[in-house]
């Protein structure tokens, strides 16, 4: 064994693998290594997608495997796009999506800005604030049904304390007007800490010297906020919006536990509706078309959004 580090490094480097595996080029060996991943991707992602597209043109039902399957052309798509009930679920989803993101960004950014100030107990408060997002959505949905209970629920009593309204005079989950807001409140409570953490990362990535330079140029705090803080945190904020948007578009567990899609269908989001079509009504062909429409919608919106995000990052 030599003491020369250069020689040691040279002997530690193995000879080219191809030399040891006779008859295989480096490219072939590379394919061997990548093949399992490609196979998995094809099996788990691409094949089901193609199969779903195929099913979306049929009247197939998974609970009747022996029944003859007919190709129905675009009938499933036509039915879905002309069904007023499905458009209502789209509206409910859009309402949920818009307001949860709006409140989570607003409150999350504010909390991050406050937490970013240096004060005693900063870490403790951060830990307390992020607790809700560590809970299971099913558990959160379940215990909020108790909090919203008009006769014994804490939420109604808190509202009553601040407004003087009789606590049993309103029903968050049972009222057609309040139920869409009840799911917005719970999702905001649970996921604002996530947006806060991302914003906090953005805020902490801004070097202090930029603020110091701005202060020397006599820029006001307000000016510093709008010209330094917001532009530099914006890519982080947009990333948070993307994550929350995708997550909330497919929101299921929390809302099912909380309202079950009711009262009536006012909180029946597309994912709940899709699950009913696919696994309760067993209209597999129809549900496949529904899934494809949702996939195209999310994929399209996300692509446009990611392009915008990249532009912001490039600035």
């Amino acid at each position: 064994m030599t003491d020369n580090p250069i020689e040691r490094a040279a002997t530690a480097t193995p000879p080219r693998l191809a030399r040891r595996i006779k008859g295989l080029s480096d490219r072939a060996i590379a394919w061997i290594f990548v093949a399992p991943t490609i196979f998995l991707l094809l099996a788990v992602n691409i094949f089901p997608l193609i199969w779903t597209i195929n099913l979306s043109f049929t009247n197939f039902r998974a609970n009747r495997p022996n029944r003859e399957v007919d190709y129905v052309g675009l009938r499933n798509y036509e039915r879905i796009l002309t069904d007023s009930d499905i458009w209502l679920t789209m509206q409910a989803t859009a309402h949920f999506l818009f307001w949860t993101i709006f409140f989570q960004v607003l409150i999350g950014f504010t909390l991050a800005w406050l937490i970013n100030r240096k004060f005693k107990g900063n870490d403790l408060w951060t830990t307390i604030i992020v607790l809700p997002m560590m809970l299971s959505p099913a558990v959160v949905g379940n215990f909020w049904t108790f909090l919203y209970q008009p006769q014994i629920g804490l939420f109604n009593y808190v509202v009553s304390f601040f407004t003087g309204v009789d606590p049993s005079s309103f029903e968050m989950i049972g009222s057609v007007n309040l139920a869409p807001w009840s799911i917005v409140i719970v999702d905001t409570w649970m996921w604002t800490p996530f947006v806060m953490l991302i914003c906090l990362a953005g805020l902490r990535s801004i070097p202090d010297y930029i603020y110091e330079a701005a202060a020397i140029d006599r820029a006001s705090r307000w000016r510093q906020f709008w010209t330094i803080t917001v532009p530099m945190v914006l890519p982080f904020l947009m990333l948070a919006v993307l994550f929350r948007g995708i997550e909330n578009f497919k929101m299921f567990d929390l809302v099912v536990q909380l309202t079950g899609g009711g009262p009536g269908s006012v909180t029946e989001l597309t994912s709940i509706n899709l699950k009913r079509e696919a696994f309760e009504k067993w209209r597999t062909g129809y549900a496949s078309a529904y899934a494809i429409i949702l996939f195209v919608t999310v994929f399209g919106l996300a692509s446009v959004y990611v392009k915008a995000l990249n532009k912001v990052k490039e600035r």
């Binding site: 009247n59 998974a62 609970n63 009747r64 022996n66 009930d85 209970q149 008009p150 006769q151 049993s168 029903e171 989950i173 049972g174 057609v176 099912v256 309202t259 079950g260 899609g261 009711g262 009262p263 009536g264 269908s265 006012v266 009913r276 696994f279 309760e280 009504k281 067993w282 209209r283």
Partner: protein, 438 residues
Amino acid sequence: MKTAKYLAATALTVAGLGANGAAADDLTLCWAAWDPANALVELSKEFEAQSGHSMTFEFVPWPNFADRMLNELNSGGKLCDLLIGDSQWIGGGAENGHYVKLNDFFDKEGISMDDFAPATVYAYSTWPKGTPNYYALPAMGDANGWFYRRDWFENPDIQAAYKEATGQDLREPESQREMLQIAQFFQGREIDGQTRYGAAIFTERGSEGITMGATGALYAWGFKYENTPGKYDMEGAVNSPEAVEGLEFYKEFYKTATPPGYTDSYMEQGLDAFKSGQVAMAMNWFAFFPGLYADPNTGGDKIGFFVNPPQNQAASTLGGQGISVVSYSDKQDAALEYIKWFAQPDVQAKWWALGGYSAHNSVLNDPGFKDSAPFAADFLEAMGAVQDFWQEPAYAELLIAMQKRLHDYVVADVGTAQEALDKLIEDWTETFEDEGKL
């Protein structure tokens, strides 16, 4: 030497098992998790002792029961050897090959369907409906009934207040309208220093709750699924003026006589509302009545029972189930053995005694049956006028549509009763067209 002894003992045990003939099986029986299931566990101990088979039970809470079990059947699962499935599943169970047809077995073992109450045989066993093709043995008769706070109804002060408010005597209601009047009287009333409410009814959205509740009123008004049975001609039956009136009545009941926040409630919530003293009356399945009567706080002398009151006609919503052998089971012989044992009159008598609702004539026609429990006579009366939901293979799709239309109208104030029932016909028509039945 020790090893040799163990080997000898093992060999003897194996030989002994062989000498007994068929090996003992471990049978799995699937059902909903509720009071009667516990009674069945107790009853089945006798079968285990007699047959040598052991029993395992898979009980699923009601809100998930249909989802869980239908997925199991649709995937050809072997979890259940015996299934006590809901009456509406019989069409799918038969047509999709999930259940074993029992005719040959009944003939061979001398089990006659004439020994069971006709309504239960029709509802739980036959497919196509009413034909002598049997896919289940009636296991648990059930219907939706009512119970009330007898102590409040018999309280002289409350009776006087009711008389003053309505001009009538406070009694077990004899019509749907009278029941609503009583519920509205109790709504928001102070009794023993607490605010009480009228009644706990079914409003649940996710599974079958609001359909099972509202049909109690709809059937009593005269709602029908078809004008001609088997023709799927729903126009004028599903949305008849009587059906519209019945649905409007159920909404009025929900809006004016139920506790606050009672928007998504089914069996458990109804039982809780009654046991906690919130409501004067509640609807629920007869299956729960033995447990309610035995409750130390609100049972005994404090509780009374009555059958779903008539309006234009006497009618009750059917519950209950038949017991079937799952065709994917590897232990069908042992499962059939269980059914043979369960069909015996003396076992059926014990079943009733333990809290299960036997559908066997020897139990129901026994002269002492009506007095055997405070709700026994009501049960007999209810079973004489039961009506059930569609039992088609596409029942789940039909049920989901009705759940949506009823909940939209009753709880979420969407549209009118007429519109809700018209849309329901559109939904069901689409389903039957997909099924090739229209």
